[in-house]
Point group: C2
DNA sequence: TTGTAGGCGTTATCAT
DNA sequence: ATGATAACGCCTACAA
C-alpha cells in the first residue's frame, strides 16, 4: 500500500494540495462541503499526516524531553508516569534521557535533545550548578521546567515538594512518640538534602531539643555499593556514640529503604532499638518488615504539573512576561510499624 | 544568534550548499582541503545539522520506540536502562510509551509511534494475542522486536529469559533444602506464567514429587490493591489446606515482594513457617527482612540485546531472508535469608 | 472559495 | 572537484 500524502489525496480528489491541507486543518477559507468531502476521503484512505514534515515546516516537534539523573527508584518512575499521562492527553510525545548523576552525561543529554528537536525540557539537574550556563543559554529558545531538585538558579517554573515541612513533620512525629535523639541520613551534594536537614533543625528548635551535629550524616549515594558501605559504617558509628540515637530519618527513597536492610543485617531491631522513618515512595513500604513509615511525595503530580507548566510556557506568545512559579507540593506522612513504639 | 544551517555556512564560505553538505558527510567527491576547511568552519560556528530535515529527506528517524505494559518495578527500569545505554551509543533516541496493561492503550501507543515516526519498535505485549493483527500488519514496514513476554505469534527476533529453567532451579533449591510441599504464585493471563509454571511442574516430575493443583495459584495482578487482596486470600487458603505448603515461589517481582509483606502482615514467619523465593530484580531484595532469595533476570542485557537486534534488522537490506532468533537468557539464583532453613 | 508557488534544511542526481 | 536543481511532505502567503 503506497503511502498516502496530501498530494495523493489531492490527486484522488481532483483538488489542489493546499485545498486539501486547508480543509483538513479546518481553515475558514474552505466551504463546509469540501471540508467534509475531503475529511471523509482522508479517513477512508487512513491518511496520517507526516509529522516529520509538519515539524520541519512549523518548527514544532510536539515532543518534550525529560532529563532525569536516575530511574531506579519508584519515585522517578512515578514522576515519569505522571508526565507521560499528561503528555499523551495533549498529544505530545515524551523522550526520556538518563543523566546517571553524571554531569558530562547530562550535558550530552541536553545537547542531543536540542539537536534532535524538542519543544521543551523537563529537567531534574544533577546538582544546583550542573551545566547551569548551558541551560541558561539554551533556555532562551527552548523552555526548561525544573522538577524535584528545584534549587537551581534559572528563572523558570519549578515543581517540587515542601521538603522542609516533610522532615519537620517526620521529626515532630518522632518527638510525639517520645524520641529525643534523632539522627538524619542525607545524601552528600544533593540539593534537596539542605532543605530537608533544615526542616530537621527547625523541628528541633521548635521542640527545644538541641541539634547534635554528629547526628547529621552525609552519605555518598553515587552507587548502591558505596551507599551500603557508608550506611553500614555510619550506623555503627551512631550506635557507638555516648548517646546513640533512638530514631533515624532517611532523606530519600534509596537511603531510607536501604537503611532498613543494613539495620536488619546488623541485627538491630526496628522499631524496638531504633525507629525509622523517611522519604520513600515505594509500593514496598508495606512489604518491608517492619513495614516502613514514610514521607510520601506526590510524584505523579510532580510529573503532571511539570508537563502542564512547560505547556503553559509554550503557549505564551511573550515569554519574557511570564511570572515564574516555584510550586511546592505537600508531602504526606504514612505511619507504619517502623516508628510504632512509644518511648 | 541566528541559526546556522548548511545555507548560512555556504554563504560564509562562499561555496555552494551541496559542496558543504558533501564535505561534512565525507564524500569522496570533495578534496581533502575543502573538507577540512568546511569542517573547521562548521565547528567554529557550532553547526548542528537539523535532524528533522535529515529525517524528512532520508526517511530515517534514528529513533526507536519502546512499548512496555508498566514501568513500576525495577525489572522494567533495568530493561529500559539497557535499551537507553545501547541506543545512545548508536546515536539513536528512545521514545518510551506505557501501555498500562491495557490493550486499547497499547493500540494507541503503536499507532502513535508509527504516525510520529520510529525506525523500529521494541515491544512487550500485554498478552500473547494483544493487537496481533495490527502488529503483523505494521511490522511489514516497521520492524518489531519482542522482549520479555516472548510468546507472541509474530515472526521476528525475541529476547527473553529461560523462564522454565528459572522456576525449575528455584524448586530444585527448595527440594534440596528439604521442602516437598511447594506452592507457586503466578499472574493470571500473563504469558510468562505458563512457562514458569511448566518449570515448576517439570522440577516436581524429575524429583518424583506429585504436583498438587491446589498449590498453583493464579492472581489478578491488574492493580496493587487487587493483588493484595488476592494474595492475602490465597495465602490463607493455602495455610488452611490439610497439607499446607512449606515454601512458595513467586512468579514476578511484584508478586514475590508483596507476598513477603502479606506474610508479615499475617504474622507468618519467613523462613521458619514458610520459605519464599521468586523472580525479583529489586535492589531491595537485600533490604527486605528477611532478605529475599531471588531468581534474577539479566534485565539490562534484555534491553541492550533487544536494541541490538532491532538495529540488526534495520541494517539488513532484505528483511525477508532474516533468520529470526528466539533468544533466552539464563537467570541466576541469589540465595538469601528467606529460604535459609533446612527442613 | 480554490489554486499556485515558494520554502523549511537536508540529501541526491546530474551538470559543469 | 564543485555547483545547480529537484525532491522529501507539509504549510501559507498570495494570486486568481
Amino acid at each position: 500500500m503506497a503511502k498516502v500524502t496530501l498530494k495523493s489525496l489531492a490527486k484522488g480528489l481532483n483538488m489542489s494540495v493546499s485545498t486539501v491541507s486547508k480543509a483538513l486543518n479546518d481553515s475558514y477559507e474552505i466551504s463546509e462541503e469540501t471540508k467534509s468531502k475531503v475529511k471523509a476521503y482522508a479517513t477512508a484512505h487512513n491518511y496520517q499526516p507526516n509529522i516529520i514534515a509538519q515539524t520541519l515546516k512549523t518548527g514544532k516537534t510536539n515532543t518534550i524531553g525529560v532529563i532525569i539523573p536516575k530511574m531506579s527508584s519508584p519515585f522517578e518512575s512515578q514522576i515519569i508516569e505522571g508526565i507521560q499521562e499528561a503528555a499523551t492527553k495533549e498529544n505530545f510525545r515524551v523522550v526520556i534521557m538518563n543523566s546517571m548523576e553524571n554531569e558530562a552525561m547530562e550535558k550530552s543529554n541536553i545537547s542531543s535533545m536540542v539537536a534532535k528537536g524538542v519543544d521543551g525540557i523537563l529537567f531534574c539537574p544533577i546538582h544546583e550548578h550542573s551545566n547551569i550556563n548551558l541551560v541558561k543559554q539554551i533556555s532562551e529558545n527552548t523552555p526548561f521546567v525544573i522538577f524535584d531538585r528545584t534549587n537551581y538558579a534559572i528563572d523558570t517554573h519549578k515543581i517540587g515538594v515542601l521538603n522542609t515541612e516533610g522532615t519537620h513533620a517526620a521529626c515532630q512525629h518522632l518527638f510525639d512518640m517520645g524520641h529525643r535523639k534523632v539522627a538524619i541520613l542525607g545524601g552528600a551534594h544533593q540539593g534537596i538534602t539542605a532543605d530537608r536537614v533544615a526542616g530537621y533543625k527547625q523541628a528541633h528548635k521548635e521542640a527545644d531539643i538541641p541539634v547534635q551535629e554528629e547526628y547529621i550524616i552525609y552519605l555518598n549515594v553515587k552507587s548502591v555499593a558505596e551507599l551500603h558501605e557508608g550506611l553500614s559504617r555510619n550506623i555503627q558509628k551512631l550506635r557507638n556514640l555516648p548517646e546513640p540515637p533512638t530514631a533515624v530519618v532517611g532523606i530519600s527513597d534509596t537511603i531510607t529503604t536501604h537503611s532498613l536492610g543494613i539495620l536488619s543485617q546488623l541485627g538491630i531491631k526496628v522499631p524496638q532499638e531504633i525507629a525509622v522513618i523517611g522519604f520513600a515512595n515505594t509500593d514496598l513500604a508495606f512489604s518491608l518488615n517492619p513495614s516502613l513509615s514514610t514521607i510520601y511525595q506526590p510524584a505523579k503530580d510532580i510529573g503532571a504539573i511539570s508537563f502542564a507548566k512547560v505547556l503553559d510556557i509554550l503557549n505564551k506568545k511573550y515569554r519574557n512576561q511570564i511570572e515564574w512559579e516555584d510550586i511546592k507540593l505537600p508531602t504526606t506522612i504514612q505511619l507504619r510499624e517502623s516508628t510504632k513504639i512509644n518511648l
